[in-house]
């Protein structure tokens, strides 16, 4: 491809992404006739349902991140340390959520854990929250696992483990004080991606009837004109902030240049 053609392709690509975003952002500012204003944003932010659903989704995101870290870090560590041959299998399993639609999993949950089952999780709000958490953890699994596994690849897991053991450390100390701090940037990358996924997730929350931010956005979209655009801009801003934080954390890490 010649240089001008490459530029044309780049500009076309950028326009493809930017024009709808720009259009949406511009539309979200036109609630007041004739002038640009932040009325739509004010209306959204003042909506008590926004605060409630957003708060719920933030809480779910935080818990999902915690569960994800507790599940993924020891697994990825153990696979690298003791079962390197199983790595492709585990990677394949963690990628499954990308090919199995969330709606299939949600229906599976509802069928397995309905009120007539041996574990009627859908019968109570708490139980449904647990199912939602499981669903979110699974949705975030490909991102969390890849991020942590990449982080582990950059440290000499085996030698650091052996060094810790020879200094008297048990598994808890090794994971908590040696492995986790050395993959903290990777864990945070996974955490921010998880946060972005959970905040915008619709299928699980809607089917399990939980008061999350995704279904709220959909409801607002049914009833109003300008507010949905404002909400979409807010959602994008959250995602971008997460991406920015990944970059910021990576850059400010004191020992990122350190090898094993």
């Amino acid at each position: 491809m010649t240089r001008p053609a490459a530029w044309v392709a780049l500009v076309l690509g950028l326009l493809y992404f930017v024009i709808p975003l720009w259009g949406m952002a511009e539309f979200s500012l036109r609630m007041r006739r004739g002038v640009y204003s932040l009325d739509a944003y004010g209306s959204v932010l003042a909506n008590p349902e926004f605060q409630r659903t957003f708060g719920f989704s933030v809480l779910m995101a935080v818990v999902t991140i915690l569960v994800g870290v507790l599940l993924v870090v020891p697994t990825a560590y153990w696979v690298r340390l003791r079962m390197p041959r199983l790595r492709p299998v585990v990677e394949f399993i963690t990628l499954l959520p990308l090919v199995i639609p969330a709606i299939v999993i949600a229906f599976g949950y509802i069928r397995l854990y309905n009120t007539g089952s041996w574990l009627p999780l859908t019968g109570t709000a708490g139980g449904a929250n647990v199912l939602l958490l499981m669903g979110y953890t699974m949705l975030a699994l490909p991102y969390m696992y890849r991020a942590v596994d990449t982080g582990l690849a950059s440290v000499d897991v085996r030698t650091l483990t052996e060094a810790s053991q020879s200094l008297g450390a048990g598994w808890g100390t090794i994971l908590g004080r040696v492995i986790l701090p050395n993959v903290v940037v990777a864990v945070l990358s996974g955490a921010f991606l998880t946060f972005a996924i959970v905040i915008g997730e619709f299928t699980f929350a809607a089917l399990l009837d939980r008061p999350a931010f995704g279904p709220f956005m959909q409801r607002v979209g049914e009833d109003s004109a300008y507010e949905p655009s404002a909400l979409a801009v807010i959602a994008f801003a959250i995602t971008w902030a997460c991406m920015g934080l990944i970059g910021l954390v990576t850059r400010t890490q004191k020992h990122t240049r350190a090898g094993a």
């Binding site: 440290v155 000499d156 030698t159 650091l160 052996e162 060094a163 810790s164 053991q165 020879s166 200094l167 008297g168 450390a169 048990g170 100390t173 040696v178 701090p181 050395n182 903290v184 004191k254 020992h255 240049r257 350190a258 090898g259 094993a260």
Partner: protein, 352 residues
């Protein structure tokens, strides 16, 4: 009873037997090197002592107690790795104090011990730095301090100098030996570098194919090699095949050349015996006390600075000889006729 007693260790990985019937008693405060080529089993022995590998058979006793059933973190054995293995997220002081913190030692005591260790390795001002801010040699010294801080019963060094450049290596090996002597800590050092092993150790174990071919002082290993492998692996030499002429008088012959070794030989006349000459035993030109003089041709000349290594050929036999560099006496050119001389007393009888 030895302080650290390694008894009949066996270890296989699948069908591959990497350690065979390995036994080694080590006294308290002794510095023993395991020397051998890659795959000889030396690192596996070290890892079994550390607890990272479990022997198929055998025992490892420290002060009379078998440590094989213990996990690595229960053995109180310090280890230094080839790749330093410092914790990148901790400062130098954090690294050195890690073992003490794990053991639940009080903060003030840990700080005092860390300061003492940093003083010991000559880096008293470096406590606040991170590993990536240190040179390779400094990192390895910190790794040594970290291993020593919890006062281990045994110190294991797994090729700790291999990743360093030549000058730092020589300096650091001297420092390691000095610290080891000062603390009197029982140490096993694994290396494939024979010069390193000979220069630093009380005793050297030369390993080959999972077996200890020879255990002895550096002097004995170098001058009385027990097997052709030890002779060939430790130092350079000229191997010669000779026939015993008179065992009581210590006379052998090779290619018409008769050599009086000056000591009786424990084999019958007519036995073919492998003998060898170290390069430093052979001289360029005639010299008093070196009764065997051979006309030869210089074939290769390797200038190594203070020493010049020459390969000369005499009667179809290749000889290696070392001569000190002298500014007023340039070495011969390849192809140049020379005379070489040596004494029968300098001949090494391999396994004799």
């Amino acid at each position: 009873m030895a302080y650290l007693d390694i008894l009949n260790l066996q270890k296989s990985f699948g069908a591959n037997r990497v350690v065979r019937d390995f036994s080694l008693p080590i006294d308290k405060g002794e510095f023993v090197s395991l020397l051998g080529p890659s795959g000889c089993g030396k690192t596996t022995v070290l890892r079994m002592v550390a607890g990272f590998e479990t022997p198929d058979e055998g025992a490892i006793r420290i002060e009379g107690r078998d440590v094989v059933p213990l996990r690595p973190n229960q053995r109180n054995i310090g280890m230094v790795f080839q790749s330093y293995a410092l914790f990148p997220n901790l400062t130098v002081a954090g690294n050195v104090g890690f073992g003490l913190k794990v053991a639940g030692v009080a903060g003030a005591e840990t700080r005092a011990r860390v300061a003492e260790m940093l003083e010991l390795i000559g880096l008293p001002e470096m406590g606040g730095r991170y590993p990536f801010q240190l040179s390779g040699g400094q990192q390895q010294r910190v790794a040594l301090a970290r291993a020593l801080a919890p006062r281990p019963r045994v110190l294991l060094l797994d090729e700790p100098l291999s990743a360093l450049d030549a000058k730092v290596r020589v300096r650091l090996r001297g420092e390691i030996r000095e610290i080891q002597r000062r603390l009197g800590i029982t140490t096993i050092f694994v290396t494939h570098d024979q010069e390193e092993a000979l220069s630093i150790s009380d005793r050297v174990v030369v390993m080959n194919g999972g077996v200890a071919d020879q255990v002895g002082t550096p002097f004995a290993i170098y001058n009385q090699p027990a097997t052709p492998f030890v002779a060939g692996f430790v130092g350079a030499l000229t191997p010669i095949e000779a026939t015993v002429v008179d065992p009581r008088a210590g006379t052998v012959s090779s290619g018409g050349m008769v050599m009086h070794l000056g000591r009786a030989l424990p084999m019958a006349a007519g036995t073919v015996v492998p003998i060898a000459l170290r390069p430093e035993s052979v001289r360029l030109g005639r010299e008093a006390g070196r009764e065997i003089v051979l006309p030869a041709t210089a074939r290769a000349v390797e200038f190594m600075g203070s020493v010049i290594r020459i390969r000369a050929e005499a009667g179809g036999q290749s000889f290696l000889l070392d001569t000190f560099n002298r500014a007023d006496a340039p070495p011969p050119q390849p192809g140049e006729p020379v005379e070489i001389s040596f004494s029968g007393r300098d001949v090494i009888v391999i396994g004799g």
